[in-house]
């Protein structure tokens, strides 16, 4: 019988006097003794006496235990009760309670990424799927399938070997062995292959790993339990949130901006600027952190500036990473994007080709971070004199490029769901939007702790805290301290901790905010930025940790 099914008590192990207080036991004893003395007043029934110990105390003890067990039973009837009773808070019990509300725990995901393997010889390397890459902290990653690395790739399972100086390297797509955010490796984290790869010089994370989320915690489940009561439709904010979380298990937070919400503006494009009914902007956070994806596109030459540089235009269409945040890198087609052309501007506009429902989007900013967003990116390429060609030859009218895009998944799918005529509400105009992102950077955090405390654990705790903040929150230094101090054996954390945030506003401007205590989103409804529309994101690489051994 498991602890859970036995309410946490194991006979002979933990059925002890911690179940009740001395006062509770005394109250039970007083009652038993009183009744017996009411019948037989002459009995010597004093505490510590033989009769008392043999007759009164055992009864009192059993009653106190029975009362406690009953209380535990009552606690198991609600999630709050379970969470407040650590001995009951096992996943089996929590999941059983939540099944009554139709809620399922969100299962975590495995991190994915790319490992760069540097080798000394240009050879053909076979990488079997049972190969592992292991970090110094013991995190294990596996190739996504068996590969062959060669300078002459012939099929999808062949990896290209690149030359760099007198060395060579190839890039291996890997996936974490287990779910959880701990596997979101930071760029250049060292990994050792096992068994080793011939001619190996080094291997490390090529860019920060993505995905990798923990299972939903009991506290997170508790927070969304009220929504589970809501009618499953698209009428109210709570119903919309509940329905989306049911339908799309990766949805972590929802903020609905309705008729007179501060973050709603597209319903006020009338003569007197009154906010009218019929509209809702549904902001959805679909992942802990932003994902970075790549896409091959054709850029168009805009102009050549003499013999110095050329400007190209690249369009990220509404179906390319719908609702994406920004384009982070652009390089030659098929390149590894270690470096990027200089991106000079992005202009996000609306592409409202109808897909069954016509949305009211009076200004370009209203389409930003929706699936109707189209992004025109301008980037520059320097003229390379060493090639010995002239600018016209060096800058063709069209150019094949690979672009790296920061985005949250699922925005189009959620928009389709909201617009689905079999589910949507008649006359409603709902736009699904990715949150306005505020990318957070922290000043170095100095943590005093014994060597048993790993910097990765500290970084991960801060990562989970910031990326778990619901809409409308602040990033608070005291909370950062709390999550770090919650790690066993951490002795001290130095202040100050400076928090900086870059808000990628829908009007195209990146506004920077800073604070040493609590970083809150300013209220700028004219550009679509209010706390209820904006979410904080932080990358592991933006959480510098300095461990000071004590």
């Amino acid at each position: 019988m498991s602890d859970a099914s036995n309410l946490g008590y194991v006979a002979g192990i933990n059925l002890d006097t911690d179940l009740f207080t001395e006062a509770e036991l005394l109250e039970e004893e007083t009652k038993v003794a009183q009744v017996i003395l009411d019948y037989a007043p002459s009995l010597k029934l004093t505490r510590g006496g033989t009769l008392y110990d043999l007759v009164v105390r055992p009864r009192a003890l059993l009653n106190a235990i029975a009362t406690k067990l009953n209380k535990s039973l009552q606690s198991t009837q609600s999630l709050q009760g379970v969470v407040e009773n650590p001995e009951l808070a096992v996943d089996e019990v929590v999941d059983a309670i939540l099944s009554n509300r139709g809620i399922k725990r969100r299962i975590g995901s495995k991190a994915t990424g790319t490992v760069r393997v540097n080798v000394s010889r240009n050879d053909v390397y076979s990488l079997h799927s049972d190969l592992t890459f292991v970090t110094a902290t013991g995190l294990v990653f596996l190739p996504q399938q068996s590969y062959r690395a060669t300078v002459d790739p012939q099929n999808d399972t062949d990896l290209t070997i690149y030359a760099t100086g007198d060395q060579f390297y190839f890039l291996v797509p890997v996936i974490a062995q287990v779910t959880g955010a701990a596997s979101r490796l930071i760029d250049v984290t060292e990994l050792l292959p096992s068994p080793t790869i011939p001619n190996l010089i080094s291997s490390f994370a090529f860019g920060s790993f993505q995905g990798g989320e923990n299972d939903e915690t009991n506290e997170e489940l508790l927070a969304r339990e009220p929504e589970a009561l809501a009618a499953k439709n698209h009428v109210s904010a709570v119903s919309i949130s509940s329905t989306l979380k049911d339908q799309f298990t990766f949805v972590r937070d929802v903020s609905v901006q309705g008729m007179n919400s501060l973050g709603m503006s597209r319903n006020a494009s009338n003569l007197l600027s009154f906010k009218m009914g019929g509209y809702a902007d549904v902001y959805v956070r679909t992942a802990q952190a932003a994902s970075y994806g790549q896409i091959n596109k054709t850029a168009t030459l805009v102009e050549i500036e003499g013999t110095t540089k050329a400007t190209y235009s690249l369009v990220i269409d509404r179906d390319d990473f719908p609702g994406h945040f920004f384009v982070s890198k652009i390089g030659p087609a098929g390149s590894d994007l270690v470096s990027s052309y200089l991106i000079t501007s992005e202009e996000k506009t609306a592409d409202l080709r109808t897909d069954g429902q016509i949305h009211h989007v009076p200004a370009s900013k209203d389409a930003v971070y929706t699936r109707y967003q189209k992004n025109t990116v301008l980037f520059e390429i320097e003229f390379d004199e060493t090639l010995g060609t002239n600018p016209v030859d060096q800058f063709p009218a069209t150019l094949a490029v690979t672009a790296q895009v920061a985005y949250l998944p699922g925005i189009k799918e959620i928009q389709d769901f909201l617009s689905d005529p079999t589910r949507g509400v008649v006359l409603s105009d709902y736009l699904a939007k990715a949150p306005v992102p505020c990318f957070v950077h922290l000043s170095p955090i100095r943590v005093h702790a014994p060597s048993s405390v790993k910097g990765e654990d500290v970084r991960l705790a801060v990562f989970d805290y910031i990326n778990g903040l619901p809409f409308g929150s602040e990033v608070r230094v005291d909370e950062i301290l709390s999550v770090i101090k919650a790690i066993a054996d951490v002795k001290r954390v130095d202040l100050p901790i400076r928090i900086t945030g870059d808000i990628y506003c829908p009007d195209g401007v990146v506004r920077t905010i800073r604070d040493d205590n609590a970083l809150g989103v300013p209220s700028l409804p004219e550009v679509g930025v209010v706390p209820e529309t904006t979410a904080f994101f932080v990358e592991l690489s933006d959480i510098p940790i300095a461990m000071i051994e004590v």
Binding site: Q34, V35, Y39, A40, A231, M276
Partner: protein
């Protein structure tokens, strides 16, 4: 099946040796009785656990069938708690007519001493006691009856007479806190009800952080759950605002009113299924008359009401004004008052636009002058050819020439509030109207507002109207010399209407024409003779200062927009 909670039946389960031959069979009878009592308590606990399965059956409090009350000489008549801020105690000697004992000197860190002489502190979470307190559990010789032999309230049990002087109550000697020997007696109270937090633990946590249980709170939670699952139907809204306001609603699926009568200070509504009582100070709804069939959830009083335009299109006619701020207008402005009175529409110079001309217009609004100008300026900026506010209003009123063009030679008058409700917002407004002074319970009101915001359709807006009763007169006082001077009195009507010309000279000295930030407030006589300036009322009455609340909100109707409801709710909480 035998009922083992009966001492005699339980005793009968012992073998004949114990009941017939054992020398101390009387003691064994006592043991059996003790076991039977405990079984009864465990059964009570079991029933409560079963009851927890539904919000409709959960008992808000855990009941102990027998509760020992232990009295010691040293602590009897003191305590139970350290004095708390706000308890009404005075430092030093206590005056008469307080809940504390007159003449007793309270010292810092000391315990409370109540007005009764013989009392003891009850456990902190004890909410209620049964009808009697006895000296024994079996065949008691002393029975103290509630409200005659003892009273319970405010966390203490107060006895009419000194239990230590009653020879029928056994006393024993125990070691005191200082090692001395002192007398102790144990009395037994029946049906002690304890707030063990179960209502919050089982259901309340879904909606609120409030952990204090009560039967009325259970009803509120049940109403919240119904609102979540059923959605904001008109009937549901009516029921929930009434419930939160502490007003009775029809309990059964359908009830027929049989009689409505008055008994003392209560109005009694008797139906074929239930009896309801409400204070005579509140107004029963017109439909609550003998013979009426009322459905479940129907409120009986007008203390709290919910409206929507489709069912009650004229709800606005009794409202003096509505303030619309950034929640309703997408502009960086403070609230503007749309007053319920007829005002002329003024035409502005015609605009020459690329596509043609347009004639803007404006009408009277209250609020900060700069914000009023900003509002109309924004309207001019957004004007399209042929679609100025003047063009639209004149055409809408049918004031057109033979070609169908607006005939600006004719004058036009509109009611700004009627315009706001009928032409702009009305069909998307859910209106809740509460008579603040008559609400018997308001602690759940903020929870309600939060929940309503999340459960109403997202294309709708929530407008909360507080009806408050004001004093007839207010006195202006110098903050440094708070003395009452009749020459400083102003009529409430003049204050609300902002008619300083009616003030006495002394009172006028306290009055100024700027708001709390020094910005000019539009208080022209023609503007305010019939209406309220929301800006005026919120700034001059200083809602944030608790001391002002009693006089500030106490006669006529005031309407303020939702954004100030928190201040109002705090101000009006009894």
């Amino acid at each position: 099946m035998s009922d083992l909670t009966s001492p005699e039946v339980y005793y009968g389960f012992f073998s004949a040796f114990w009941s017939r031959f054992f020398g101390d069979s009387v003691a064994m009878r006592g043991v059996a009785h003790a076991d039977a009592l405990d079984l009864a308590q465990q059964y009570q606990n079991f029933l409560e656990a079963v009851g927890n399965l539904s919000i409709h059956t959960i008992e808000p409090f855990h009941k102990k069938q027998w509760l020992p009350i232990v009295l010691r000489r040293s602590s009897f008549g003191t305590g139970p708690d350290q004095l708390k801020h706000g308890s009404g105690a005075n430092f030093g000697v206590q005056p008469a007519d307080t809940k504390f004992r007159e003449g007793v000197t309270f010292t810092y860190g000391g315990l409370e001493q109540r007005s009764g002489l013989y009392y003891v502190g009850a456990p902190a979470n004890l909410q209620n006691l049964g009808a009697v307190i006895t000296n024994r559990l079996v065949e008691p010789s002393v029975m103290l009856v509630r409200d005659s032999g003892f009273i319970f309230g405010d966390g203490i049990i107060t006895f009419k007479d000194d239990p230590f002087e009653n020879p029928l109550i056994p006393k024993r000697e125990v070691a005191g806190a200082n090692g001395n020997v002192e007398e102790e007696i144990v009395l037994w109270a029946i049906d002690g009800e304890f707030d063990d937090g179960r209502l919050h633990e089982q259901y309340g946590y879904l909606f609120s952080n409030r952990k204090v249980s009560s039967e009325s709170y259970r009803k509120v939670i049940a109403a919240f759950m119904a609102l979540f699952s059923d959605g904001p139907t008109p009937q549901m809204l009516e029921a929930i605002v009434a419930t939160v306001a502490g007003q009775p609603v029809i309990r059964e699926v359908s009830e027929t009113v049989e009689r409505v009568t008055t008994l003392g200070t209560k109005q009694i509504v008797i139906t074929d299924a239930s009896t309801y009582q409400v204070s005579t100070s509140v107004e029963l709804r017109p439909e609550v008359v003998p013979g009426a069939v009322l459905l479940a959830g129907t409120p009986l009083t007008t203390v709290a009401q919910a409206f929507d335009y489709t069912r009650t299109p004229n709800w606005w006619t009794t409202v003096p004004a509505i303030a619309a701020g950034r929640d309703y207008i997408f502009a960086d402005i403070s609230p503007l008052g749309f007053v319920n009175t007829v005002v002329p529409v003024e035409l502005e110079p015609t605009l020459d636009l690329l596509e043609g001309t347009a004639t803007p217009a404006r009408f009277f609004l209250t609020g900060k002058t700069e914000d009023i100008e900003k509002f109309w300026s924004l309207a001019r900026e957004k004007t399209a050819a042929g679609a100025g506010l003047g063009d639209l209003l004149w055409k809408d009123a049918g004031l057109v020439d033979g070609d169908g063009a607006p005939d600006f030679t004719q004058e036009l008058y509109i009611n700004p509030l009627e315009f706001l409700v009928k032409k702009i917002l009305g069909r998307h407004l859910i209106v809740i109207k509460m008579k603040v002074n008559l609400i018997t319970r308001s602690e759940s009101f903020l929870d309600l507002l939060k929940i309503l915001k999340n459960t109403i359709p997202v294309w709708c807006s929530l407008l909360v109207i507080f009806e408050v009763t004001l004093e007839e007169e207010f006195a202006f006082q110098n903050a440094g010399e708070p003395t009452l001077d009749a020459t400083n009195l102003v009529a409430t009507e003049d204050l609300i209407a902002g008619a300083p010309e009616n003030f006495t000279g002394a009172a006028d000295g306290f009055w100024n024409d700027v708001d709390s930030e020094g910005a000019p407030v539009n208080k022209t006589p023609e503007a305010l003779s019939d209406a309220i300036s929301p800006e005026t009322i919120t700034t001059t009455l200083d809602l944030a200062t608790p001391g002002n609340n009693v006089t500030a909100y106490g006669g006529s109707t005031a309407v303020l927009e939702e954004s100030v409801h928190y201040k109002l709710t705090d101000a009006c909480t009894p």
